[in-house]
């Protein structure tokens, strides 16, 4: 294989993994706070649409990403209100959010399936981006790619280096105890859910603004669910999210290249790979060390908190 192809594959993997990184890092914070939001797929598709629509009408990529972020937060706020104020079941509410999100995005986006937009441009740093090999591999991505990595770092710093992060983890592990010593359980969880929505929204927008310059009602194609799997894979550790996303991105890209190389397998079987890989990786994780993952899982994950005082 020549150099150009390898660079193309590496760039392809990065592009394929970024939406997963955004969605998964948001959900990671949510789950660390003890909330299980299964609505990631719905929040992503709403973000994808919002970003696309704003980009189409304004041509301003910054506004487009901002719109996706806000749209993700808006729809996540439904989930926050229901689970935190009205104490509904997390699993059922999350599913409703996904179904609702898919429906509302398809409905609102019905007029946009035929139109195209300009892809968000990659950055170009003079000198650095022009370097051979290193230039395209390190300094020529879309700004959102760098943002994704920065957010992962930020989440790690927040969770493990700040007081609020410590409180959030405490709430996720034992909400009754955290409440008893005076921490605002509901407030932290609502914030976490909104952050999760914002990140899923940006992740969705990355699909419609960077990966393909068009809108389709099923364009997330299960990435929200894969992101949920990634959070488990990461054992709720932020940096492992990147590792997981790169593995899935790699499988996606290799499968696309395999289709291009005319390997004698139907395209359908190759397209199954990312989904099957999710299962296989989750299983192998448990085979390797059963107890480790259980130990890092937030104890109150998915449990309903009702304060009596």
């Amino acid at each position: 294989m020549n150099e150009g192809l390898i660079i193309a594959i590496i760039i392809g993997i990065s592009i394929a993994s970024v939406p997963l990184i955004f969605a998964a890092i948001g959900e990671l914070i949510v789950e660390r706070s003890g909330v299980l939001n299964l609505g990631v797929e719905g929040m992503m598709i709403v973000g994808a649409l919002a970003g696309f629509v704003v980009e189409f009408h304004t041509g301003n990529s910054f506004l487009a990403v901002l719109a996706a972020l806000l749209a993700g937060m808006a729809i996540a706020s439904i989930f926050a209100f229901l689970t935190q104020i009205l104490l509904t079941n997390h699993v059922a509410t999350g599913l409703a959010l996904t179904i609702f999100g898919l429906g509302i995005a398809a409905f609102v986006g019905r007029g946009y399936t035929e139109v195209r937009i300009e892809l968000i441009a990659e950055i170009h740093i003079p000198l650095l981006s022009d370097l051979p090999i290193v230039g395209p591999l390190l300094f020529s991505y879309n700004p959102l790619v760098y943002l994704a990595l920065f957010v992962v770092f930020l989440v790690w710093w927040f969770l493990f280096k700040t007081k609020h992060g410590l409180i959030l983890r405490a709430i996720g592990d034992n909400h009754d105890a955290a409440h008893a010593i005076g921490h605002k359980v509901v407030r932290y969880r609502v914030m976490a859910i909104l952050f999760g929505g914002a990140m899923a929204g940006i992740g969705g927008a990355f699909l419609s603004l960077v990966q393909v310059p068009m809108w389709g009602e099923n364009m997330t194609a299960g990435r929200g669910w894969i992101a949920l799997g990634l959070v488990v894979f990461s054992s709720w550790q932020p940096f492992k999210v990147i590792l997981g996303a790169v593995i899935f991105g790699g499988i996606t890209v290799l499968q696309l290249h395999a289709q291009g190389f005319d390997i004698r397998i139907s395209a359908q079987y190759l397209s199954m790979l990312p989904y099957l890989a999710t299962i296989i990786i989750l299983v192998s994780l448990r085979m390797r060390d059963k107890n480790k993952t259980n130990r890092t899982m937030p104890n109150c994950l998915g449990r309903i908190f009702h304060s009596t005082t």
């Binding site: 059922a92 179904i99 609702f100 429906g103 059963k290 009702h306």
Partner: protein, 359 residues
């Protein structure tokens, strides 16, 4: 200041009132959303097409029954698992695999007529669905892998598998390369029970199954076991109930029933195997099960209600060129409101005068 106080006993009145309240709120919200979004269309006529017409026209009523049937069958299976805290979210995948398995048997015997064929196809469909859900049961009991993610991932795989099958081994040899199977012959089709419509014998089976599930849950020990494991896992462990058995039982039952529903769709309204088989029934059945508060008989009614949103969605698509995804909006909203209204059953809402002190 509004506070929620845990009731000592669930409110009986609210158990019946809260679903009605949820339906009313959904309709009202939908109305306002339409007024807001659809500025160029008469909203009342959309509402008529959505909710009224499907109830007064005999054709629509029959279609309502056709759509409700798979929902009843799938939701029955899911409700058993949900009671036990086993979340089979990928019934859609088991539905597709069941459809493929049953149809394969039917297509294999495409030149043979016989009353035995349909039971054989059904058996294949049930086994196919059981096998597919069994993967999730195996991974959960052996490796503690979350069944939500496994069943969901397998759903995407199943839909791709269906596409590969109808383009490959099961494609109609004389079908001009369209990705669909032969049309099923008479023995491989479900008998119509209401002449002139598409209502077939599977409706009766669905209703019988509801009553079987109802009695089963009331009388049988495994029903008891499932109920307790769901509501009090620790107590269930002390009583000697096996958590692993419950996972297997829940997933096999729900998978088998979803598989059967998949075949009934292929051998009923569709009449062949084609990529149009998956119609979101597996996901919608989750809403059906919740709306019925997991009660087997109530599932019949909630399935009819949800079937109405399907028909209404198709209607507005034809009349007003609106996307049928409108159905999903309704279903999502209905579930939101339903879950929100559930709070009235478990909790009492009281208004307390704020005295200035922070709580």
């Amino acid at each position: 200041m509004i506070r929620l106080i845990l009731r000592t006993q669930p409110s009986k009145a609210m158990i019946f009132l809260s679903p009605l309240l949820a339906i009313t709120l959904t309709a009202v919200t939908a109305f306002f959303i339409f007024v807001f979004i659809l500025t160029d269309i008469e909203v009342s006529s959309v509402f008529y097409a959505l909710f009224v017409e499907p109830l007064i026209d005999i054709y629509y009523v029959s279609e309502l029954l056709v759509k409700a049937t798979p929902l009843i069958i799938i939701a029955l299976g899911l409700s058993i698992g949900f009671r036990a805290g086993v979340w089979n979210i990928g019934a859609e995948g088991q539905y597709v695999i069941g459809g493929i398995a049953g149809s394969t048997v039917g297509l294999y015997f495409y030149d043979v007529e016989g009353f035995w064929l349909m039971p054989l196809m059904s058996l294949a469909a049930i086994l196919g669905g059981m096998f597919y859900a069994g993967i999730a049961a195996f991974l959960r009991t052996k490796y503690q892998v979350n069944e939500i993610l496994v069943t969901l991932m397998l759903t995407y795989v199943a839909v791709l598998f269906l596409s590969a099958m109808v383009q490959g081994p099961l494609r109609d040899p004389s079908g001009f390369n369209f990705p669909e199977s032969r049309l099923f012959h008479d023995s491989a089709l479900l008998p119509i029970i209401w002449q002139g419509t598409r209502v077939n014998v599977s409706l009766i089976i669905a209703i019988i199954l509801s009553f079987v599930a109802w009695f089963g849950l009331k009388k049988h020990i495994s029903g008891m076991q499932v109920k307790i494991t769901g509501s009090a896992p620790r107590a269930a462990k002390f009583a000697g109930f096996d958590d692993k058995k419950t996972v297997w039982f829940s997933l096999l039952i729900s998978g088998g029933l979803a598989g059967l529903a998949g075949l009934f769709e292929a051998a009923g309204p569709i009449g062949q195997l084609n990529p149009g088989l998956p119609q979101f029934y597996g996901f919608t059945a989750i809403i059906v099960a919740f709306l019925a508060r997991l009660h087997p008989i109530a599932i019949i009614f909630s399935a009819l209600l949800i079937a109405l949103t399907y028909l209404g969605g198709e209607n507005v698509q034809i009349y007003f060129n609106l996307p049928s995804s409108i159905t999903n909006i309704f279903q999502g909203m209905l579930l939101f409101y339903f879950l929100a209204c559930e709070i009235l059953i478990k909790y009492k809402v009281v208004f307390i005068k704020t005295t200035g002190q922070r709580i």
